[in-house]
């Protein structure tokens, strides 16, 4: 896989509803993350660099634990992610988190600080730049969202992070939903409101067409450099040793800007 440019990261241990890092005690959280890391590293025979928590649920302790376990990148923050349709109605800290890669604080994953671990936020414009969002939006809206995120990344030295799930790449055969009921407008255990799942296109033929269309659009955009997380890290000089420095070089051609510039730009965004 590595020879094809792919990487493997950790996505929790089980990805079950019970695995909510915000609700675990410190020792439990450490044990869970350590077990997941050891299993993956043992199976793959190499260190794992990247982590994303299931459903973007992280506690204030998660990132220091990840750093202790040797991770270099976390992808669990989705800034300005409007909570109504998101994975969690109650996690509002990310609404105000930076949009550029940053070294997070030891006390909050949503603020800049002194951890060596690099937080690479998942791209978002109120809804995350995820295939599930793209399968819910009209094509014109997808096109505008994609253009805006690429333009923002180029101008301000940010990274475009696109999230897929397997079924959002290939669809589902049993995609027809039962009739709409009032419960679809209430919060559900897995996060957000049930209605959001009904908006997602599931027809395998249409899903494949939309996925191909999006990937083709990204592929023919010369301003984009597609990278796996490990390739991205390889382009960051001294990745993991940048804490406290004013400048973060993002690894691609000429993408380099000071934290103060990025901070000012982030503040100017809605």
């Amino acid at each position: 896989m590595r020879s094809l440019g792919h990487s493997v990261g950790c996505h929790g241990l089980n990805h079950t509803e019970e695995e909510d890092l915000r609700r675990l005690e410190s020792k439990q959280e450490f044990a869970l993350l350590r077990e997941a890391t050891l299993i993956l590293e043992d199976a793959l025979g190499e260190p794992i660099n990247a982590f994303r928590s299931p459903c973007y649920r992280i506690s204030n302790r998660t990132l220091p634990i990840l750093e202790e376990l040797g991770y270099k990148v976390d992808l669990s923050v989705s800034p300005q992610h409007f909570p109504l349709f998101s994975s969690s109605l109650w996690s509002c800290g990310r609404m105000f988190s930076p949009r550029s890669p940053y070294h997070p604080s030891e006390s909050s994953p949503y603020r800049r600080g002194s951890l060596k671990l690099l937080e690479i936020p998942t791209s978002c414009l109120l809804i995350p730049f995820a295939q599930a969002s793209i399968l819910s939006l009209p094509r014109m809206a997808t096109g505008i969202m994609t253009k805006l995120l690429i333009s923002e990344a180029r101008r301000l030295g940010r990274v475009v992070v696109l999230q897929f799930h397997p079924e959002s790449v290939v669809g589902k055969d049993d995609w027809k939903y039962p009739p709409l009921v009032w419960k679809d407008f209430l919060p559900i255990q897995s996060g957000g409101i049930g209605l959001r799942y009904r908006l997602i296109e599931r027809d395998p033929v249409k899903v494949r067409e939309l996925t191909d269309s999006l990937l083709l659009r990204l592929r023919v955009t010369p301003e984009l450099q597609p990278l796996s997380v490990d390739e991205f890290l390889a382009g960051v000089p001294g990745a993991g040793e940048l804490a406290g420095k004013d400048e973060v070089n993002l690894g691609s051609d000429e993408v380099s800007c000071s934290r103060s510039q990025v901070g000012r730009a982030a503040q100017s965004l809605p």
């Binding site: 094809l4 990805h15 990247a50 180029r154 897929f164 301003e223």
Partner: protein, 76 residues
């Protein structure tokens, strides 16, 4: 990108444009037909030469899918 012609006719870019990094992540979780999904996803990403970071919750698949072998299979 606009170009400037030198006296010898060689082309030089007038302004080097910034490139943005694109990170594509595929978050895996329990799925009844994970093997088929993953295989097809790998095919689609391969066709588009997309570099992907697979994010894996390891115990999800331990009992149902030998996911390490699956990755190797997809990579082929």
């Amino acid at each position: 990108m606009s170009v400037t012609l030198s006296s010898s006719g060689a082309e030089f870019p007038r302004h080097r444009k910034r490139r943005a990094s694109l990170l594509i992540t595929l978050d895996l979780h329990k799925h009844l037909e994970l093997a088929a999904c993953l295989s097809e996803s790998a095919e689609i990403f391969g066709q588009h030469r997309a570099h992907v970071t697979y994010l894996v919750p390891p115990l999800t698949f331990e009992s149902t899918t030998p996911w390490r072998g699956l990755f190797v299979m997809c990579a082929r």
